[in-house]
C-alpha cells in the first residue's frame, strides 16, 4: 500500500523524559551537583515502543487511564515533541485542539487574537481574514470580538479558541478532551462540526474519557496502558478491555 493512504504512521516510537528530582535551574545548583556528584534526575519512558498507522479519513479514539501516555502521544503526532527513538510520518496539515487558546494574549482583542492564533496554527494572513467572519459567528461573540479577551468569560474564551482551531480546516484534527467547551448548545454545535469534518473525509485523532463519545464517533480505538499500546481494534472491544483494566485498579486496594 502506498504511504499516502495513511495520515499518520508511528513506528516503534519511544518518548522518554528526564524526570527531574531537583532541578538545576541555577548555576549554583550546577556547581553543587558537580561537587556532590549525585544524580538528580531519572529517565522514564512515557511512551514505549508504540507502532500504529491511521488511514486517511479514519476517526480514531485514544483511551487509557490518566498518565497512560495519551497526551504525550498526541503531542508527538502534533510535532511538539520529537520522539527519543522511532519514526513518525505525518501526511497533511495538523491542527491540534490539545490545549485551547495557545498564544492568546489577554490584552489583545478577540479579532487580534484570531489573527495571531491562526498564524500560529499555520494559516497565512489572507486565509485568516477569509475565515474571520465564520470564526466570529461560530464562537457567538458578537460585539465582544473587538474587546480585549481578558474581559471575556471563560466560556467565551474557550469558544473563541475552539472556533479558530476548527476553522483552520486541517487534514488531521487532534482533539484532546475538549468537547466540554461551552454550554449544551455550543457543545452540540461543536459535535456537529466535528462530524462534518469526519464526513468530509478528514482524519481525526480523539482522546476522551467519555466512552459513549468514543463508541458513537470513532471507527477504531487504541488503548494505552503505562505507555504501551495494549489493544487496537473496534471501539466496543477496546472499551471492554479498558473497563477490565479499570476494574483491576479498583480491585487492587482490596487485594493488598
Amino acid at each position: 500500500m502506498p504511504e499516502t493512504e495513511y495520515s499518520v504512521i508511528l513506528h516503534d516510537v519511544v518518548q522518554s523524559f528526564r524526570r527531574i528530582k531537583e532541578r538545576p535551574d541555577t548555576l549554583r545548583e550546577v556547581f553543587a551537583r558537580i561537587r556532590h556528584r549525585h544524580k538528580r534526575y531519572e529517565d522514564f519512558e512515557a511512551v514505549k515502543n508504540v507502532s500504529f498507522a491511521i488511514s486517511r479519513g479514519e476517526m480514531v479514539g485514544l483511551i487509557g487511564r490518566n498518565g497512560s501516555g495519551k497526551s504525550t502521544l498526541l503531542k508527538i503526532i502534533a510535532g511538539v515533541y520529537s520522539p527519543t527513538s522511532g519514526e513518525v510520518i505525518v501526511n497533511g496539515t495538523i491542527a491540534p485542539l490539545i490545549e485551547l487558546g495557545a498564544g492568546f494574549h489577554h490584552e489583545l482583542t478577540g479579532r487580534e487574537n484570531i489573527l495571531l492564533n491562526g498564524l500560529l496554527l499555520g494559516l497565512t494572513k489572507r486565509e485568516v481574514r477569509e475565515r474571520e467572519a465564520r470564526i466570529i459567528e461560530f464562537a457567538e461573540l458578537g460585539d465582544f470580538i473587538d474587546s480585549p479577551i481578558k474581559q471575556y468569560s471563560s466560556g467565551m474564551y474557550m469558544r473563541l479558541a475552539f472556533s479558530v482551531a476548527i476553522e483552520v480546516e486541517p487534514d488531521i484534527l487532534i482533539i484532546d478532551e475538549i468537547l466540554g467547551v461551552g454550554d449544551v448548545g455550543f457543545q452540540q454545535k461543536s459535535f456537529e462540526r466535528i462530524q462534518q469534518f469526519r464526513d468530509a473525509g478528514k482524519t481525526i485523532v480523539f482522546v476522551s474519557h467519555a466512552m459513549e463519545n468514543v463508541r458513537n464517533l470513532c471507527d477504531r480505538a487504541l488503548l494505552l496502558h503505562n505507555g504501551r499500546l495494549v489493544q487496537d481494534g473496534t471501539p466496543s472491544d477496546v472499551i471492554a478491555r479498558y473497563r477490565e483494566l479499570l476494574g483491576q485498579r479498583v480491585a487492587e486496594p482490596a487485594r493488598r
Binding site: D25, A102, G103, L115
Partner: protein, 258 residues
C-alpha cells in the same frame, strides 16, 4: 545562514504579527499609546541636552549629539537583548502546545525593538535641526551600520535565548554584563581620550566597529574607512552565524526545559 533567511521569509507574517503584538502590549493602556515610542527618547534627549549643554561642559562641542549618536544604537542593543533573552522561556507554554518554528520568537523580539529604534531616530533628527547642528549628507550611510547592528544583536540574542532555557541565571547575568559592556564601549567618551596603549583592547570589542559607524556619519559627517565598514558587517554576520548555529543545535530540546 541561507536556512535562516528562508525561514524568516516563510514565517514573515507570523513574525510581524508577534512583533506588533509586543509593541501593542507595551503601549496598551497608556493614554499616549504609541507616541511614547517617540516621546521617551525625545525626553531623554531633552534631559541630556540640558545637563550637558548648560550644567556640565565638556570639551566636545554639541556633546548631546555626540552622545546620542551612539547611545541610541546602544540602547537598542541592550533593550533587544533584555527582551530576547526571555523570548523562548516566556513563550514556553506555547511551545508545549503547538508545533511552531522556534526562531520566530527571538526574531520577533528583535523586530519590535527595531521599530522602536527607528522611531527614536526621528527625535534625534529633530534635535540635530533644532540645535542648528549641520545635517551631514552621511546620514544616508546609516543603513549600513544599522544592518551590522541588527545582525550582531540578533546573533547575540539567539545565543542568549538558548542559554537561558537551560540556565535561567543568564537573564540576570546579562544585565550585569551589559552595564559593564556599556563602559567598555566609547559611548559617553571618545576613543581619543583613551591612552594609545589601551586602545588594542577596544579593538577586540566587535560592537565598537558597529557603533562607530553611527557616530561618524551623524556627528562627524565622515564615512568610516572601508576596513572598518567591512569589519562592522563581518562582526554582524559572524555573530548571527554563530548564534543561530547554537540555537539550531539545541532548539529541539527547548520544549523539555521551558
Amino acid at each position: 545562514m541561507i536556512e535562516f533567511v528562508r525561514e524568516c521569509y516563510r514565517y514573515r507574517e507570523l513574525i510581524w504579527a508577534l512583533a506588533m503584538k509586543e509593541l501593542r502590549v507595551r503601549y496598551k493602556r497608556s493614554v499616549l499609546g504609541f507616541i511614547w515610542a517617540l516621546l521617551n527618547p525625545a525626553l531623554l534627549m531633552l534631559v541630556l541636552t540640558l545637563v550637558f549643554g548648560a550644567l556640565m561642559r565638556f570639551s566636545v562641542p554639541h556633546y548631546s549629539i555626540f552622545l546620542l549618536s551612539m547611545l541610541l544604537p546602544w540602547t537598542f542593543f541592550s533593550q533587544s537583548l533584555s527582551y530576547s533573552v526571555e523570548s523562548i522561556v516566556s513563550n514556553g507554554e506555547l511551545l508545549k502546545k503547538v508545533r511552531v518554528a522556534r526562531l520566530i520568537f527571538p526574531v520577533a523580539a528583535l523586530v519590535s525593538n527595531i521599530i522602536n529604534f527607528l522611531l527614536s531616530m526621528i527625535p534625534l533628527f529633530l534635535l540635530v535641526i533644532g540645535l542648528r547642528f549641520p545635517v551631514h549628507w552621511t546620514w544616508i550611510y546609516l543603513p549600513i551600520p544599522m544592518l551590522g547592528l541588527f545582525l550582531f544583536t540578533l546573533g547575540v540574542a539567539f545565543f542568549l535565548a538558548t542559554a537561558n532555557v537551560f540556565y535561567r541565571d543568564v537573564s540576570h547575568i546579562i544585565q550585569v554584563v551589559l552595564s559593564a559592556w556599556f563602559y567598555f564601549c566609547p559611548i559617553i567618551y571618545s576613543l581619543d581620550f583613551v591612552p594609545a596603549r589601551y586602545r588594542w583592547f577596544f579593538r577586540l570589542n566587535p560592537l565598537v566597529y558597529v557603533l562607530n559607524g553611527f557616530r561618524l556619519s551623524i556627528y562627524y559627517g565622515l564615512l568610516p574607512s572601508w576596513q572598518s565598514a567591512v569589519l562592522s558587517l563581518a562582526s554582524g554576520v559572524g555573530a548571527l552565524a554563530l548564534g543561530f548555529a547554537v540555537f539550531r543545535r539545541y532548539e529541539k530540546s527547548f520544549v523539555y526545559y521551558v
